[in-house]
């Protein structure tokens, strides 16, 4: 049985429906990341799990027990907040032990627990300080210490890294992952950063406008996005989504992309089974930038490379890679080239398309054509 | 035994539920004493006074209903029209002069003045004083026998004359002087806070666009101080309508009734002239004047907060 189970969860503020029937489950020891653009309802969802906000209908179970009407302090959860929410008037040690104090744990036991957590997070030297005297990274650690010390059934993280600078964020991400692997606790983690989601999660849930778009492992979400929204949201730079048409030439399917003078036709070597029914109809072709390369840079293991001449419009070197923008089907399309490509703007060069990794979406429903 | 155990469990569950319900209502419970006090002592009293204004009360409250008769009498009283006229003179001058001085001082102080830390508290300290103290100080300082006029005569300016405080026509202007002295520093502080809140990059951009200092203030800075103007106006207007202590201490409404204001009128009609019904109706008029300024202001402020 699942450890955390959310069934048909609805949440309304007045007439506004923020969560529209969300179903998610996660096994014990899992790391569930809720991801989506701002306003998608992911933080509200986390708050309802915590019990900080009530729900309109549905059911939330933690470890087999319905907690709908249980006070947050009785759900056996701990939460790390975006602003860290450290009590400004208490020392670091008092901050960490406040939850234990409220539960009537003796002073000696509290002291022992503080020391244990402080050692784990390497913040022993900070225990006497006030939150105001700490750096962002140190506050982050204290906030985690406050959650860890309670040894709860479930950890909730609300965008915990979004207030850190880029380098520290990467370090803390690694640290959270290490802690999770070491302690084996169950975590629900909210972020708007899809890279954080990819690196940390065992399960990703993508939300948009209060509706769950897809739940799956990071690999499933990345390589089999359920719809155009997920395809567009996960990955950076985002997946190229090109208006195209399916052509059926004596049994083999091809995708036709209208270009200025003539349309570009690319073969589809492994068509999804229902693509046949789209013959002669419009589809949206999805292809990630790393699957559009220069000829030499194409994945040597890829079996189906198609070539097509494209006109270079913008060249953006980033160091390791160079992103090249061209036009396909009236849309800007980004490809990821090797560093020293030596392309210049206006040039017409052949691009390599990894046709084994393309996606098709229905332009009306925006769903994946499987 | 099991039955008793079950009963015990049931009672404890009821107890827990009651505690949790209490928790839900606790905040409202905690707020309620204050709210009840306000409802009773502010809004209940407003209703009560409102009723008195339509009653035949004289020396003591009485509940004979006379409709709007008191208001009719009120507006036929010469004392009341003097009070309203004085309020108009006092209110307009007080608001305009305080705003001009306050804005002027704020702009000057904002020009990186050395000694701002000394000057600012000097401009502001009158606000900490009681109007009675202010009234006492100005009463004797403006007294022609010992004050300013006397000093000028001693200094050799024999023809100098400044006896406004003794003059029926001019006494109201001495109230303006003392009130401006007390409040203009406060208005300065409001404008200064507004000036300091203006993004400096906007000023730099305007200078690069070629605005002179004068144009900078007239076209950019002063329009951006709109909220400060509004706040200053509301605060000064409501202080003017409520003005009471200062007049009592400075002129006691005199000479004669020359510096009568609605607040002093209300007090004397209600408590010394045994015309409580008329006194109550004058209080209602005062409330309506203030409400017409404050309610739109509060409404817009609270609405802005919402969005």
């Amino acid at each position: 049985m699942a450890f955390l189970e959310i069934n048909r969860l609805h949440k309304q503020y007045g007439a506004v429906e923020v969560l529209k029937g969300v179903d998610i489950t996660i096994e014990e020891g899992g790391f569930l990341v809720l991801v989506g653009p701002s306003g998608c309802g992911k933080s509200t969802l986390l708050n309802t799990i915590a019990g900080l906000e009530g729900i309109t209908s549905g059911e939330i179970c933690i470890d087999g027990k319905v907690v709908n009407d249980l006070h947050p302090s009785k759900r056996d959860i701990a939460m790390v907040f975006q602003s860290y929410a450290l009590y400004p008037s208490m020392s670091v040690g008092e901050n960490i032990a406040f939850g234990l104090e409220m539960r009537g744990v003796s002073k000696a036991d509290r002291q022992k627990a503080i020391e244990g957590v402080a050692a784990m997070l390497q913040i022993e030297h900070l225990l006497k300080r006030r939150p105001g005297q700490l750096s962002g990274g140190q506050r982050q650690r204290v906030a985690m210490g406050r959650a860890l010390v309670r040894d709860p059934k479930l950890f909730l993280f609300d965008e915990p890294l979004s207030n850190l600078d880029a380098k520290l964020r990467v370090d803390m991400r690694t640290e959270i992952k290490r802690l999770h692997q070491k302690l084996g606790t169950t975590i629900v983690y909210v972020t708007h950063d899809q890279i954080e989601a990819m690196t940390l999660a065992t399960q990703i849930a993508v939300l948009k406008d209060g509706v769950l778009q897809q739940v799956g492992t990071p690999d499933e979400v990345y390589s089999k996005p359920a719809n155009m929204f997920v395809a567009d949201f996960m990955g950076s730079p985002t997946m190229n989504l090109i208006d195209a048409k399916i052509a059926n030439g004596d049994g083999t399917l091809a995708v036709e992309i209208p270009q200025r003078d003539r349309s570009l036709s690319l073969p589809v070597p492994q068509p999804p089974s229902s693509l046949q029914s789209y013959s002669g109809k419009s589809v949206v072709l999805g292809i990630r930038p790393e699957d559009i390369t220069d000829l030499d840079g194409a994945d040597p293991k890829a079996e189906h490379i198609a070539q097509a001449p494209c006109s270079v419009e913008v060249v953006e070197p980033t160091g390791a890679d160079t992103f090249v923008v061209t036009q396909l089907g009236g849309k800007e399309v980004t490809g990821r080239m090797r560093n020293a490509t030596g392309l210049s703007v206006g040039e017409d060069v052949p691009f390599a398309f990894n046709m084994g990794k393309i996606h098709f979406f229905d332009p009306a429903t925006e769903l994946r054509i499987a | 035994m099991p039955a008793r155990l079950a009963l015990a469990r049931a009672t404890s569950e009821v107890a827990i539920e009651m505690i949790e319900r209490l928790q839900t209502y606790l905040p409202r419970l905690v707020l309620s004493p204050s709210f009840v006090l306000i409802l009773l002592f502010v809004y209940g009293f407003i209703v009560f006074t409102g009723y008195l204004s339509m009653s035949d009360s004289r020396m003591l409250p009485s509940f004979g209903f006379v409709g709007l008769e008191n208001f009719g009498k009120l507006f036929n009283l010469r004392h009341w029209s003097i009070a309203l006229k004085n309020l108009a003179i006092f209110g307009i001058l007080y608001i305009v002069i305080c705003t001009v001085i306050g804005l002027g001082l704020a702009i000057l102080l904002d020009m990186k003045i050395r000694g701002e830390g000394v000057l600012r508290p000097i401009y502001l300290y009158p606000m900490a004083l009681s109007f009675i103290v202010t009234g006492t100080a100005w009463k004797w300082f403006l007294d022609p026998g010992i004050g300013l006029e006397h000093v000028m005569h001693l200094w050799g300016w024999e023809s100098f004359s400044f006896n406004w405080i003794k003059s029926r026509e001019m006494a109201i202007y001495t109230v303006v002087i003392a009130a401006v002295w007390q409040s203009s520093g406060f208005v300065m502080a409001m404008f200064l806070a507004g000036l300091r809140g203006i993004d400096n990059e906007i000023l730099k951009a305007a200078q690069i666009d070629g605005a002179s200092n004068w144009q900078l203030y007239r076209r950019i800075v002063i329009p951006m101080l709109r909220p400060a103007f509004l706040s200053a106006f509301v605060v000064l207007a409501h202080l003017a309508i409520k003005a009471y202590d200062l007049v009592i201490a400075l002129t006691n409404g005199g000479p004669g009734r020359a510096t009568e204001l609605p607040a002093t009128f209300m007090y004397s009609y209600s408590f010394t002239r045994n015309q409580m019904g008329i006194g109550a109706s004058s209080a209602v008029i005062m409330l309506m004047m203030i409400a017409s300024i404050i309610i739109p202001y509060l409404y817009s402020e609270l609405r802005e907060k919402k969005s």
């Binding site: 708050n47 915590a50 900080l52 302090s73 602003s83 008037s89 409220m102 539960r103 | 905040p27 409202r28 707020l31 204050s34 709210f35 006090l37 306000i38 002592f41 502010v42 009293f45 407003i46 009560f48 006074t49 409250p61 001085i101 001082l105 020009m111 508290p121 300290y125 009158p126 900490a128 004083l129 009681s130 109007f131 009675i132 006492t136 100080a137 004797w140 300082f141 000093v151 001693l154 002295w181 520093g185 406060f186 502080a189 409001m190 806070a193 300091r196 730099k204 900078l216 200053a232 409520k242 009471y244 201490a249 006691n252 007090y267 006194g279 209080a283 203030i290 409400a291 309610i295 919402k306």
Partner: protein, 293 residues
Amino acid sequence: MSAASKDTALRTGAIARAVIYSVLIVFAVFYLLPLFVMLVNSVKPLDEIRQGNMLAFPQAFTIEPWIQAWGEAQIGVQPTGLKPYFVNSLVMVIPAVAISTFLGAINGYVLTKWQFPGHRIVFGLMLFSCFIPFQIVLIPMARILGLLDLAGTTSGLVLVHVVYGLGFTTLFFRNYYDAFPTELIRAATIDGAGFFRIFRRILLPSSGPIIVVTVIWQFTNVWNDFLFGASFADFDSQPMTVALNNLVSSSTGVKEYNVHFAGAILAALPTLIVYVVSGRYFVRGLMAGAVKG
């Protein structure tokens, strides 16, 4: 007032700056003049004021007017000086300030962190009560105080000042707690703290500045009040402002200007000291009272 220095690159010439400084100094003199007049004339013999120059320093220095004002001057019918009234004011101010500040803090806490349907209306009603002309409540208040057997007592005045101070104290704390991060309340809720514990352990320890602002504001207002004191107090409870006015405006006998000035300074002293010691908070209170939100 923000301490952030603003680098306005206004170009002002030497003459312009001289004019600016002159204007600023002239106004400083204007604001200081009455205080100067009160001070120098409170240490002059009466003759020197009548014949001499009000703006001149004393030729014969005397503290007799101060002694008179404090302990001997005729106020009303009794030659008690201002001393008993000073005590009356203190006995009234301290509980009035303490109670209204405490209630304001609790109200502000509820109105920001435990919002309930209709909290906006409740706050609006409390806010409007700050601005009413008190004339509208004088008559019923006199009656209620009579009914409660509080007429003419200090307790009655404390009640009045608490009620009509609540709007402002609530406003101050509401605006302060509004900016207090709600995540802290949530964290404490998960940690298991309840309504009062969150207030006492999380909010109150961080409320130092707003408590100072509120206490100063209330202290100044209650100490300086005249209308309620004049309306609802008798000899045992009359505050300093009423006594000063009685002293100055008594129509019998010689006008002892020097005693009046000494008395006026005595009445002004507590609030002036508060202002000098904590002017920053005083100004902040004024601004908070004027600019909402």
